[in-house]
């Protein structure tokens, strides 16, 4: 999956709208993921997963900032996320299927807060971008 020039423009465009809400959207994405796909909670037995949890807020911020980092280096996502890729491969070992689930919840959050900005074309580009990020994070799994 290759990001076209238009995809990159679309992704940068939508992220310019959401980056000021990064922490909020990151936390909401995680919360929705834990509620919608309860099996994802298995990766966080050490977390307080109640609504408003400080841990979810902090982790949501981390996830959102990683996505923003990828957007800021959209021509070299694998370079930008190389350390995160190592982390996921060696330590976290989150099953690849879960990245789609997180991506779905992120798209839902964007749809809720910026429905008019999430045109079908932007939706397509954003979905591609999230796939690209997932591919980088799982690239070193085996």
């Amino acid at each position: 999956m290759v990001l076209s020039g238009t995809d990159k423009t679309n992704v940068k465009g939508i992220f310019s709208k959401i980056s000021s809400h990064a922490e909020e959207y990151g936390a909401e994405t995680l919360e929705r993921m834990f509620i919608t796909y309860p099996q994802t909670k298995t990766y966080f037995p050490h977390f307080d997963l109640h609504h408003g949890s400080a841990q979810i807020k902090a982790h949501g911020k981390k996830v959102a900032n990683a996505l923003i980092e990828a957007v800021n280096h959209i021509d070299d996502i694998s370079g930008a996320l190389s350390k995160l890729s190592d982390l996921h491969a060696q330590k976290l070992r989150v099953d690849p299927v879960n990245f789609k689930l997180l991506g779905q919840c992120f798209l839902v959050v964007v749809a809720i807060h910026h429905p008019s900005a999430l045109t079908p074309e932007v939706h397509a580009s954003l979905d591609k971008f999230l796939c690209a990020v997932s591919a980088v994070l799982t690239a070193k799994y085996r």
Partner: protein, 144 residues
């Protein structure tokens, strides 16, 4: 299905404009996952997002699909039976890979989220994600 899930599903469904949401969901499927266009070679112009969004056959078919979805909403405890014939149709005549049902289900969730905003609570999303999963499973059930 818990009583709460049924209530959440119904409360969203009662406010859905089936024609609009159905058209939008199918159009987005064809735009976001362009390989799904393989099933619609008879639909005419699908050459761009604008063409797809304005295509009357896409709109009509989207409405048909979401209307059928309404049958699941009305028969939550009996979805397998409700979709038995449709499942055979999608396998034997339409030759649709069931993965496409999952893709359309996910797209529908995003369309609902964009229309209902905060009213599409996490609990709502859970119930609806469960529903689209059950529908996809029911449609795939008679495949052979």
């Amino acid at each position: 299905w818990t009583a709460e899930e049924k209530q959440l599903i119904a409360s969203v469904w009662n406010k859905v404009n089936v024609e609009e949401c159905g058209a939008e969901a199918l159009a987005r499927l064809l735009i976001v996952y362009p390989w799904t266009q393989r099933f619609f070679s008879s639909f005419g112009n699908l050459s761009s997002p604008t063409a797809i969004l304005g295509n009357p056959k896409v709109r009509a078919h989207g409405r048909k699909v979401l209307t059928s979805f309404g049958e699941a909403v009305k028969n939550l405890d009996n979805i397998k039976t409700t979709y038995s014939k449709l499942s055979e149709l999608h396998c034997e005549k339409l030759h649709v890979d069931p993965e496409n049902f999952r893709l359309l289900g996910d797209i529908l969730i995003i369309v609902l989220a964009s229309h209902f905003a905060r009213d599409f609570t996490p609990a709502c999303q859970f119930a609806w994600q469960k529903l689209v999963g059950v529908v996809a499973h029911a449609l795939a059930r008679k495949y052979h």
